[in-house]
Symmetry: C2
Subunit: 453 residues, 2 copies
């Protein structure tokens, strides 16, 4: 009988990351100085990033070598398994063949460790002793805490307050790995103090937490900043997911008609999708890529393609991307990792150019899919990952209607072991959909900076 | 460089379980009727177990075939990885080579699913529609809930109240898989009501919860009982762990000097150790096996080798085993899965015959080891599994003192994702050791039934 898990050996961990910028018909527009609106060069980022990462950020090289020390650490859990969802297919009674690449086997429980490790590695090489970052759902913070512990760097995490309250286990996990965890907005930074003065009950947002972490990093010479998504080098590091998945699909003797990933800042989606888009961009291969986001924070499906700040306090460079506006405050849905106002410039440009698709779901729909998936496959997905599960199930149901044996690959970016309170809310009927407020959307979009006339 | 993970293919999942009863110099004494004190035959167990499991319970066949349907379900996560603990070795600066077999990759998060699946399978074959069980830390309950969901059976779990309160996530996990979860002692059974009448604030114990589940199962024709440890057939099913580990050690070109497992009811220890003891019993191979238990519930190290009941209400047959007395009430330590007054008759007999060793630790010592392990290897161990980590680290430190390159293999039976509240208590300095009360010990031993003279 066919394998349930398609595995690779440690020797098959990719030796290079794939940089999609090399193959895009239109490369993302350059970042702009937040004060002057002029294009900025790499040197402007040197206050908070090591040069190796800045070079990756602007590189047009197609393949970028993964340092041996990083590959060695990847061996802790990589290559991650690719599963054939035999039992889910049966439950759905679909002719579709469903595969999922499971990143929850990482000790941090999600794909985030794929970039945390190289980021900390390059910072250590550059002599940095401490890293400041933000975290939404806590997955990025957990991953960075681990990576810092493995390389012996100190770590401070500004954690969006609503997640800090909803997900104590994630906070404890970070503490277990030696990190300092601060609920954001906090009184540790000027950005935080400003928000607290205006909104003492603020539940925070990724945009605010980023401002705090960037301010912290910029104000100390021994400290750099690390971002868990959005930026080009983060998307780059995540391509190990899709590169492995391609080898595994080949081993399974299959090729996806559609690749699906949840999309907040975009790095998870980039990780699973970009290596397949390589086939489309360079060989004209017909493969669809679908980014899945929450209705409550519908960056691609309802946002504007425009220059915007990455953070609330307007400290970061402006990036051209799909955005709901840097002041947009998403409601407190359980998929905290998808509550970001903007999206990766790489993903945004691809969407703008019609090379990828996007779809948005409400949270009750994604938890319904998550429970169905768990009961069939045993794995309880993170709420973020459940967005991809929902889209994959819907795709499989459409294949059933059409009577087509479509091949579906989705990224299961992490497990939901620290999100069970959300499952309890869903199972007890207490979980509500939080419709997007059209007012909040309009207000956010009205705050977009005026750039270039 | 050498592999970090030694993996097997799905084809290498064992085809047979190993039954150590076939090779023991002294087989366990027969179970006795709780009322008459006479040896009981298999038929006496038929009210609560299917015949296939009763046959395994009394079998003297060395190898027992694993049904294909069970092996197919094992493929969801088996073979589990064997890790070489390179980073821990380095942190300890030890010449020892440390390996661990990681059962936390199971969707239930522990080794328990290895036996939950065959138990539910045989019950389904026998026409049973519902299973009642108890759970301590919640690992067994989670595993049985999943297995019941996979095979379409209903599941009721009596969960020891202290764990029900300490580990809400485990409870939610069981609900996610469709099980009914009841804090024990409860008013659903006579056994529960009796305890509540005497001790309204009782935090429960495995002994009480077993009474409740057995009573539930015995009173309904469509319902059987399932036990997550102690019994011979449970130890049998767990031998997939050690059988895989042997193949993996061989692949690594190594053989353990010592095999270490945590020991509550004994099935986890049996699973990792029995296949290596096979080499010792049949080929005289020099391999030590060490069972690790909590100081607060030191069954092997402080208990008596005697006939005793498996439960508080004296509903189960009497088994000859190491026991602290069926009325012994262990304190509320975080390793809830090790709070059982008795021990597997197979493990007990081997200990009595000097074929295995045992050691006990306090909980601060095991959390110290767990945090050290997590920071080196990335995996946060369950508090139960942390007992094995502690013993393995101590063994490695002794090897360092002796300047010997000892080979240490330990079973990492599960992850601690649902136990982070305990980690927080440890990290904040709030965790206390709970010394064994000599009075409680004496009182428990005084309640041992008088059997055979």
């Amino acid at each position: 009988m066919p394998e349930t898990k398609i595995l690779l050996s440690e020797q098959e961990i990719p030796t290079h990351w794939y940089n999609i910028a090399a193959d895009m018909p239109n490369r993302p527009a350059p970042p702009l100085n937040p004060a002057t609106g002029e294009p900025i060069g790499p040197e402007a980022l040197a206050a908070i990033f090591p040069m190796a990462l800045i070079e990756q950020e602007v590189s047009s090289e197609r393949w970028i070598e993964i340092p041996e020390a990083v590959r060695e650490m990847y061996r802790m859990w990589r290559p991650s398994p690719l599963y054939r969802a035999h039992r889910l297919e049966k439950a759905l009674d679909t002719p579709a063949r469903i595969y999922y690449k499971y990143e929850g086997v990482s000790p941090a429980g999600s794909h985030k460790l794929n970039t945390a490790i190289p980021q900390v590695y390059y910072n250590k090489q550059a002599g940095i002793r401490r890293i400041a970052t933000e975290t939404g759902a806590g997955q990025w913070g957990s991953a960075l805490s681990m990576a810092c512990q493995f390389f012996g760097l100190a770590c401070t995490v500004y954690m969006v307050k609503v997640s800090y309250q909803q997900k104590p286990y994630r906070r404890i996990l970070m503490s277990t790995f030696g990190a300092e965890v601060i609920p954001s907005p906090s009184d540790r930074t000027e950005a935080g103090r400003k928000i607290l003065a205006e909104h003492p009950d603020s539940l925070g947002s990724l945009g605010i937490a980023i401002s705090e972490a960037v301010e912290d990093a910029a104000s100390r010479a021994d400290t750099n900043y690390a971002l868990g998504s959005v930026l080009n080098h983060v998307c780059l590091h995540q391509t190990v997911i899709g590169l492995e998945a391609k080898k595994q699909m080949e081993k399974a003797g299959d090729y996806p008609d559609v690749v699906i990933g949840c999309c907040g800042g975009g790095s998870n989606f980039a990780g699973i999708a970009f290596p397949f888009l390589y086939d489309r961009l360079t060989q004209g291969k017909q493969v669809r890529a679908v980014a899945v986001e929450p209705e409550a924070c519908p960056t691609l499906t309802r946002g504007k393609f425009a220059y915007d700040f990455g953070d609330t306090a307007q400290l970061t460079p402006m990036l051209q991307m799909y955005t709901l506006g840097h002041t947009f405050m998403p409601s407190g849905i359980h998929a905290g990792g998808l509550r970001y106002h903007g999206d990766s410039p790489l993903v945004s440009q691809l969407y703008h150019d019609g090379l990828i698709e996007a779809v948005a779901y409400n949270q009750t729909a994604i938890f319904e899919a998550a429970v169905q998936f768990a009961r069939a496959e045993g794995i309880v997905p993170a709420p973020e990952s459940a967005h991809a599960v929902r889209a994959a199930i819907d795709e499989a149901l459409r294949a059933k209607e059409a009577g087509e044996a479509r091949v579906i690959l989705f990224g299961l970016s992490g497990h939901g072991h620290f999100d069970l309170a959300a499952y309890e809310a869903y199972l007890s009927g207490d979980l509500q959909d939080v419709p997007l407020s059209e007012e909040a959307l309009a207000a956010g979009l009205a705050e977009l900076p005026k750039v270039g006339g």
